[in-house]
Every structure is written in structure tokens, then in C-alpha cells.
Symmetry: D2
Subunit: 241 residues, 4 copies
């Protein structure tokens, strides 16, 4: 049973009535809800809990961590970022949603600015499947249509993804690499663009399917962390000088 921790900044919901209306249980509540229904063992954690709810113990018991953040990236402590980073390199999966592209943990893992173009214009997005063989696209038709989503547009300053699974078409004339995977150490990362706080994106059945698929794809592989450092020869080395 996959053990998922859904982390949410949980600020918009407390200050913005419109967001609260869309997500009365918080964005984390809605994410947790459909992941539980998919048979996963789900916990939630939020910014204002001690250690942001991400103690060493919580992370030890987490197979896949989901991250949603937006206005308070800078309030996440560097110590917790280092901790999450260490867990990812050791195998914990990480699903990075929407505006978490600017979270400290994603920037640290990518090594780039992670900046992009954006526009709040309630415009249509159509997420096209670019890799029909990928398990993250299982059960999805040729595209997912969202009547309203925030525009995120190229250029997205991240490394070329290991796998590009979705490209978003936006009504206003932009495109975006909307679903991408990255491997870092023993860990797997899935970035998925949809999920603006004022739109009911996480109620869309196809978006839910992709996130469920993404969590499964990110599950840790059972194997030891590699051994680094000084290493004895495995074969005899011929004598030289």
C-alpha cells in the first residue's frame, strides 16, 4: 500500500474566500481524498505545523511526497528542504504540482531558476499526451481539456526532462511542458502543471487519474542507496612504477 504524504502550503484557503469555496478542505484535503479512494495510505502536512509537518519520522514513512505551494515558498525552512532533498536522493518519490515549480525543493533538485511565463485569464488549456507508452498517461485519451486554467508558458527554465509526457496548449497562444519526469539519485520526480487555486482542477477525473498514475510511477525502487567514497579494486591491477 503506497504511503503518500500530501504537503500543502495551505494559505490561500485561509485568506481567500474564493479558494476556500473551491477547496473547503484545503487543496491537500482534496488531493488526499481521491488518493485514498485509489487505495493509498494518505497523510497530509502543512506549512504551519511544527517542522512543516515533515519530521524525519514522517518522511521515513513516506513513499511519495506531493508538494503544493505558491505564496509562501520563502517560509519553508532550509533545514526541511535539505531533509526532503536527502530523502528524494534516497528513493522517496516527489510529485510537484503547479506553482510548486518555484518551491525551494524543486529549484534545488533542478539546479535552474525554474521560472516561466504566466497569466491568470481563465483560459482554456488542452493537455496533449506526448508519450502514449508511459504509465503516467494510462487511461487518458488523446488530451485532457480544462475549461479554465492559469496559463504557464514556455520558456520553462528547467533541465530537459527525462520524459516529456504532456504538452499544454493554451487559448492565449502559449505552450508548456506540462507533465515531465526527472530522476535524481534513487528518487523519481513528476512535475504536473495544472492546479490553479481558484479553479476546480483537482476535481477533474482525468487530472486525478494522472496524479494517481504519477504517484505510482514515483514509488521507490527497493534497493540500497549506492556506496560512495574510497573503493577497493575488484580486479588485480598490474604493477606500475
Amino acid at each position: 500500500m503506497t504511503r503518500v504524504t500530501v504537503w500543502n502550503e495551505y494559505r490561500h484557503e485561509q485568506t481567500d474566500a474564493k479558494v476556500r469555496e473551491v477547496y473547503p478542505e484545503g487543496i491537500h484535503g482534496q488531493l488526499a481524498s481521491f488518493l485514498k479512494e485509489a487505495g493509498m495510505d494518505v497523510k497530509t502536512a502543512t506549512l504551519d505545523e511544527p517542522e512543516h509537518g515533515l519530521t524525519e519520522e514522517v518522511l521515513n514513512d513516506t513513499d511519495v511526497l506531493i508538494w503544493w505551494g505558491h505564496v509562501a515558498h520563502q517560509e519553508v525552512s532550509n533545514e526541511i528542504v535539505e531533509r526532503v532533498h536527502r530523502h528524494v536522493l534516497r528513493g522517496m518519490g516527489l510529485v510537484v504540482l503547479h506553482s510548486a515549480h518555484m518551491s525551494k525543493i524543486f529549484i534545488k533538485l533542478m539546479g535552474t531558476s525554474c521560472d516561466l511565463k504566466w497569466r491568470e485569464a481563465n483560459e482554456r488549456e488542452r493537455l496533449w499526451v506526448m508519450d502514449p507508452s508511459h504509465p503516467i498517461a494510462e487511461g487518458i485519451g488523446e488530451y485532457i481539456e480544462l475549461e479554465q486554467e492559469e496559463m504557464y508558458g514556455t520558456h520553462f527554465d528547467v533541465p530537459a526532462p527525462d520524459e516529456l509526457i504532456f504538452v499544454g496548449w493554451f487559448e492565449g497562444g502559449n505552450v508548456f511542458p506540462s507533465g515531465s519526469t526527472y530522476r535524481r539519485g534513487n528518487g523519481k520526480i513528476f512535475y504536473f502543471q495544472p492546479g490553479h487555486e481558484t479553479h476546480p482542477t483537482y476535481y477533474h477525473p482525468d487530472i486525478q487519474k494522472v496524479i494517481i498514475n504519477g504517484v505510482r510511477w514515483c514509488e521507490p525502487v527497493k534497493r540500497d542507496y549506492p556506496v560512495y567514497g574510497h573503493s577497493e579494486a575488484l580486479e588485480q591491477i598490474s604493477k606500475k612504477n
Copy 2:
């Protein structure tokens, strides 16, 4: 004319007679020497200069920065690392040599630990060309043989490279992704493993050829840095609620 800045920590040469014997002008001196012969405009910079020799002005005038460091990675100031990082994302090429895999700038750009296995056993390395179509492999035969090199062994904790150009075979039984490229922002990065300070690796004609090719491959593309942030629609968006 490609403007290259060769950065060297320049410590081994001052404290270790054996290294000084191999590189009387410093590792940077030897690197600069064959790059100049190849027709490049080469400057050098070292750790103990003010701002490590990497002022904003120097970096503005640098197309490709070469980095060699080993024992003093921690002495490189975070401010200079941020500065170099910004220049790479804006297009400056970066050639990372040997033990610079643990430099702050490389770790920051990779997002991983950059750790590996190592062994100083004066063993034979054979660098096999994995991508015969790549300009970095131009002029190189099927492999480069080094009579003695420090062993660097898998697992190398870096992202999967964009392009894998060399794999090293080591006498003691290890392999290593010895030549790899990465794109970050507008900048291109080439990591090349050979170059232990007690071996005359940078006098080997094929190693020189690869570094020259690598510098050329890393040259910045002439184009503006992408515009990020809020962006007006390019097409009319249909009115919604």
C-alpha cells in the same frame, strides 16, 4: 575568437612537489597553454585571487569557463558560486574537469550529491566513445587509453546526462560515465572525468582534443535570455463568466 577563463583551485601545486613536477605552471597553466595553441583567447583565475578571480567583469568577458578544484571546494564563496550560476543560466559555457564533480557550482547545477566511488591506484583507464556523431568526439579514435588515472566509479550521483559521450573502463573492475553534457538555461555544461593531479593527463593529445572540442561545444548561442513572469495573451481569449 572564443574567450576562455580557466579557473584552478591551485593548491596541490603549491603544497605537493609531485604535482608541481607534473604541472610546474599549475594545472591552469597547462590547460591554458594548449587552448591558446588552439587559437582561443585564454585567461586564468585562481582561488586565492580577490573574488577568486571571477569578478562580474571577468565573467562578462567569458564565453566558456573551465573549472578544476579538489581539496578546497568549501573555500569557494557562495556569492561567487551564485554569480557563476547566473552566468551559466544566461549562456556562459562550463567545462567541469575531474574532481570538480564536487565543486559547489557543479552540485548546484546538478541538484544531486555528485558523489562517486574513487581509488588512487595508478591503474589503466580506457575511455570509450559512446556517441560517434558528437562534435566533442571529433578526431578521437574508438577509445583513449590512459596508462594511469585515478579511478572514478559508478554510481555517479548526477542526473542522467543529456548526452553520454564517453564511458571509462578501469583496470580494477569499474566503469564511469566519463564524458557527459547537460543543458541548463541558456548554458551548456560538459563534464569530463580524467585529470588527476599526479598524472600527466592534460599533456595527452587526445585529452587535449576532447577539452578543446568541449569548449567549442559549450560556446554560448547568440540569443536573448528568455523573458519570464506575467505575459499578455497573444491570441484573443473567449469571454468566460
Copy 3:
């Protein structure tokens, strides 16, 4: 329950006593045996059966096809190759073992010569894990050691793999991209180098584990084949001339 068809040329076993001794039930028999134990629904098919045992019906009931061939690649009919190719593009997984690198189906899917260097010298191979996050490497230590294997050496004339999971170190001084994945259409392909007919490679528990993992990784994603051809606009196009 994954439905696997193990295809074997099945010629060496009938003409070479040494091979028969190693694989009394045929290479396909041994492959089928451990895949069944892993809980899979396994059938076998061989070159000399009608339609090489690969009727439309058999392929319709196959999730993943395993291919072992060597001396009789040219005897495989083009019609069957086209049929297998069509099934791969439509989602059937394909695990290509050892000398099947020169099979018609692999060459057709790769688009290159698929040639390589080889040597039968009973030498040691050490397969190093290059991607510790990959499910195909699950349960494997840092490397797999084979006391004797045929050498396959770089350059291997295939496209750069989507994922490079193993690199082989050979006692005689060569390296090889020994485990690689490719996506073609809706189908996934895993090439795995070990398995010379005179060595008991397919009895090695780690080799079995990798093949089992590989079959699981190659399982088809449940989704429709993309629709190609003429396509109506999904958005209104402004009138022009």
C-alpha cells in the same frame, strides 16, 4: 497476470551438444521456467513452428514478447517481422536478449545497423547499475558479476537509449551499454545483453530478476492507439483570405 510469449530461434540447442547440456529444455524453456515461477502466464514459440509460432492470435494474447535469436535471423519471415512491429507500436512490450540485437525486428525498430564488437573468450563481465531509481534495477546490488560471458563491446550502433540502466565491464578491456530502454509508439522495449548460449547465464538469480523486472516494465499501458490522419479543428480558426 502478465501474458508473456518467449520466442526462441531454438537452433543451437539442436545442433550443439554443449548448448543442449546448458539448456536441455531450450533457452526458451529456461526463460519460461523462471517467468512462470514469478507468477506470469507464459507461452513459448520457436522459429520452426508455422508462422514461427507468432500468429495474429498469439500476439493478440501477448502483453510482452521476449526474443532470443542468433544464427537464423535471416530465416525469420518479413511478414512476421511486420506483424510483430505493428503489435509493438500498438503497445505490446518487447524484451530483446543478447544476440537478438541483430534480429530483423530489433533492427527495424532501431533504424540503425545494431552492429557491435564481440569476442568469445569466456571472460568476466560485471554489469554496473547506472540508474538506481529504475524499476528494472530493483533488487539488484551495485553490480551483477558473471564469471563468463561473451564480450559485446562499444560501439553499439543503436540510437541513444531513452534510459541506460546497465553498463557492462569486460575483463578484456571493453565496455557495453548492456541494459537500455526504448519507447516506440505505444510499446516499450528493453534490450539486455547477457545470455550467450554456452554459458549458464539465464540460471543466474540476478539475471532472472532483471528479466522479470524488464517484462514488468514493458507491460502495455491501457489506452487506445492514437488516431492519425485528417483532424477537424478543436478551436475556431479566424477567417483568412
Copy 4:
């Protein structure tokens, strides 16, 4: 001086007045014209010439071959396709334009169906740069806008490209991987989607820039073709049984 051969099917121009009006010298004539101006040594060849103008001699003297075809893919002889294929694996660059996605040579090199969605609706296309560090994007702004182009839409049944340089946004709601690179053997391939025969696409300065950049990127690397086949050991192999 890069030696380019521009190959054009050259049929539309002879049967369709509208195409002839746009390209009075043939599509090959227009391509050759701006490549010459860029300082290249350019020849042309067409389908109806003996051996389609692609003799062994012509290909020996070609650094980069450009391919435009549409209605007559099936008239290209298999023998010539094999010849071009051999030259690509040996290092000749190949630039594949627009409807040449269904040419025999491209299908053979890709190993997939190369099928896609299409629509002739004179709609707007905006080609977004996805990789700002790539030499093929040199001199190009954030995107190229084409007032009218044929829609080519995802899914495009090709392997995941080695590098994805452009993604096309289409007015009618589709996206497409419009500029991609592939390495096959010693050869480099660039596929570029724009260029419908009834639109003046190849007069657009940015499209010309991309094709010129693409030709330069595809130039062969000076090195021998790898040696395949039986290979003596480079290191002593310990005696076994």
C-alpha cells in the same frame, strides 16, 4: 564550406499552379537560394532524375542532405533509400522537412510509423523555442509566428527525440514537436515541421535561419566509422576451465 544537397520530390510545382506561383524555381530552388547566400556549397536533386539524382558520387560529396517529399514517397526506390541510410550512418547529416516525415528514409531511420494528425486550414502557427541553449535556435526570438501553415498535430509516432527544440502551437487547438534532433550511427538528423507547399514558409527569414542552423548542426564529425565484428582482447584474460 558545407556541401549541401537539397532533394525535392518536385511534383506539386509541376501540377499545381498555386504551388508554382509560390515556388517558381521549385521548393528545392528556394531552399538552395538562401543556403547559398549563407555561404554553403549547394546542389539540388529531384525524384525524376536518374537514381533520383542521388548517385553514390553525389552522396560522397554531400555533408548534409535536405529532404522534401509529399505525394510520391512510394516512388523513391528502395535501393536509393538503402544508399542514403548507409550514408547517414556513416556521418552524412540529414535535414527532414515538413511532409518528409512520411518519406521512406525517415521511417527507416525512426523505426516507427511516423504518422501524425494534419489539417489544411490556413491557420496560425507559433513555434516556441523549447531549448534556448541549442545552436539550432541561435538568432531566434522566443517564438516564430507563421500566419498560415498546415496543422501537424500530436501524436507524432516517432521515438522521443534526443533534443526537442521547438513545439508548435496551432490556432485550431493542437500542438506538435516541430523541431527535433536524432543521432543515428555517425549521422545527425534534424526534423523541422514547417513548409507546406502552398504557403510561402521558406521565404520567412526565421525559418531560413533555423534551416541554416540545422544544416550546420548536422555537419558530419570528422572521425572513422566504428569497427564492428570480432575483436581481440585489449587486456589479458585470466585462464578459466
